[in-house]
């Protein structure tokens, strides 16, 4: 009996957390007037909402922009973050602990403080209205460095020494030996950065004003707020669905990794 109650509660939870997405998906295929209806069934299925979205805003371009940004940032974070994490974990050099403390410190400073001065810096570099301004300030990520360092610490030093004896430079050791042994950490850091960067909307809103360089979440948000959607609810939901699709698809295939990665640091998507 108790089990039945538990299942009912779990299903209720699933309904609460899951049905809105189902509803959203079906609403994008319904005619405009039926969108408020509770049921996911429509009298007729139509692609009008999607057509309107693509007629009104260059969402495909925004998707590409986001893709470029996410790829560049994730690659950079993983490469340079690994280098830093490796140096912090496995190499000895003066000032190592100081740098480590500094990195910890950066995590404590809320973005509120950085937003304005960082923006003025980007303006001075002339990077506004360009993807460079969105990518470069986020090319390094302290959380990723910590995760990678943590994982690198567990790599047995003998293996590294053996590689050194073979004549490998540190970089080669890092990328061919250590990386192979730290795939879970790389995946974790990668997912965190991927999801975080894909979903990031405040920074693009600040740096980019021209439509051709907007990222996907930014474009969808402005579509809704700016009146471009002309109060067409279906179109707004369609744009939102398209925005969420890549991450949801990745999530469906890599759920377990997503959950363990994002939950391990308490970092939100």
């Amino acid at each position: 009996m108790k089990k039945v109650l538990i299942y009912i509660a779990l299903f209720a939870g699933a309904l609460v957390f899951g049905y809105p997405f189902v509803w959203m998906a079906t609403a994008t295929f319904k005619p405009e007037l039926e969108i408020g209806a509770l049921s996911p069934i429509a009298s007729e299925w139509t692609l009008d909402s999607y057509r309107f979205v693509f007629d009104t805003i260059p969402l495909g371009r925004a998707f590409l922009n986001s893709l470029v940004v996410v790829t560049a940032v994730t690659t950079s974070v993983l490469v340079f973050g690994s280098m830093a994490g490796y140096a912090l974990a496995k190499l000895r050099w003066r000032g190592r602990e100081f740098v480590f403390m500094t990195i910890l410190f950066t995590l404590m400073v809320p973005f509120l403080v950085m937003l304005i001065p960082l923006y003025t810096l980007v303006v001075q570099f002339g990077w506004t209205d360009s993807l460079v301004g969105v990518i470069v300030p986020f090319m390094m990520n302290a959380t990723a460095v910590l995760i990678l360092r943590q994982s690198f610490l567990t790599v047995p030093s003998e293996i590294l020494d053996a590689a050194r004896v073979d004549g490998c430079g540190e970089l080669r050791i890092l990328f061919s030996v250590v990386w192979r042994l730290s795939v879970p950490a790389l995946v974790t850091a990668g997912i965190i950065v991927f999801v975080g960067t894909w979903n990031e909307v405040l920074w693009p809103l600040v740096v980019i004003r021209r439509e051709e360089w907007m990222t996907m979440p930014q474009m969808v948000a402005l579509f809704t707020v700016g009146g471009g959607a002309s109060a067409r609810l279906g179109a707004q939901l369609a744009a939102a669905l398209l925005l969420g699709l890549p991450v949801v698809l990745a999530y469906l295939f890599f759920q377990r990794h997503f959950i363990t990665s994002l939950a391990s640091t308490g970092v939100k998507g």
Binding site: N199, A221, T224, K268
Partner: protein, 315 residues
């Protein structure tokens, strides 16, 4: 440092301890440098200096100036701070954040604990439920916000339609100054609960069953077990949830930006939204920087207080 001797033939040949600090084969100075920790960490440190250090330091200068980016900075002394203390929108943003947190945090903890407990049992399909609960966490805030815009809409919204079909009357979720921020708090709870379910789940699973057994021997019932064992053991997790949610509450941006623009009657004006408006709507960079600094200090204060009062030692 002592290194267990590997058995490769090269090592035997060398016949001495091998430390990673010693010269490389080929031992050129350039090679030494490029293989050192300095070179590897250099890109990161360089980036940190330029994109973290400099802005942080610059913010301490900016707060004493007025600047609209296009014209030269004007020294303004303490004017930004004087204005801040008189600015009722600054205090309104603080109040709004307080309203948000006072609903969001308890709701989040209760909901997350509840589902974590349920998922802690040995059940079929646990992974599926976990995946569904976690889905809102992964999805972009923009998506969730637009979704809830439709759910919360007064005339055509799903929730109101549900309520009216059950015989109730429509609720002005986002159009009433009294309901708007609570509605956003509900939205934020819905979005993040899954994350904390997982965290609590991890915490629950880490509680040694021996503790429960001890209490069992004393004849404790489920409620007492929960109150005296589970909750205290979860305390670190609860503190984490509280601290993370607090920082999240001060960073609330996209929800009020899209749903309400800060209204109605400034009831959903969040700290970050006010900073954003001051900086990018009115081009008051110096004042916005001062706001950022003050809010950050307040976050620090609040978090310290929370840790002081919520955190308990675990024996």
């Amino acid at each position: 440092m002592a290194v267990p001797r590997p058995t490769s033939p090269e090592y035997e040949q060398r016949g001495r301890g091998f430390s990673s600090d010693k010269a490389r084969p080929g031992g050129k100075l350039q090679g030494r440098f490029l293989n050192s920790g300095y070179a590897l960490v250099a890109p990161y440190v360089l980036h940190l200096l330029v994109f973290f250090g400099y802005p942080l330091l610059f913010s301490f200068i900016l707060v004493f100036h007025r600047w609209d980016v296009v014209t030269p900075m004007e020294f303004a002394g303490l004017k930004n701070f004087i204005r801040l203390l008189q600015d009722d929108l600054f205090f309104r943003a603080l109040l709004n954040t307080g309203v948000f947190l006072s609903i969001h945090i308890p709701l989040q903890i209760i909901l997350a604990l509840f589902f974590a407990e349920l998922l802690n049992k040995r059940l079929f399909g646990r992974a599926a439920f976990r995946a569904i609960y976690f889905l809102p966490v992964v999805v972009s805030g923009v998506v969730v916000t637009i979704l809830f815009q439709q759910l919360f809409a007064f005339d055509t919204g799903l929730i109101n339609n549900l309520i009216t079909s059950l015989g109730g009357s429509r609720v002005p979720w986002l159009s009433s100054p009294d309901f708007a921020m609570p509605s956003i708090a509900i939205l934020a709870t819905w979005k993040n609960a899954g994350l904390y379910v997982i965290l609590f789940l991890g915490g629950l699973q880490n509680i040694p069953s021996s503790l429960y057994e001890v209490v069992d021997l004393d004849g404790a019932n489920a409620w007492q077990k929960w109150w005296h064992v589970t909750l205290p053991m979860l305390n670190p997790m609860v503190v984490t949830v509280v601290v993370l949610s607090t920082i999240g509450g001060f960073s609330l941006f996209i929800e009020p930006y899209v749903l309400t623009g800060g209204g109605p009657l400034n009831s959903t004006l969040s700290a970050l939204l006010y900073i954003y408006n001051q900086a990018f709507y009115f081009n008051h960079m110096g004042y916005a920087a001062a706001l950022g600094l003050c809010f950050a200090l307040l976050i620090l204060l609040v978090v310290l207080l929370q840790r002081r009062f919520v955190e308990r030692e675990i024996y």
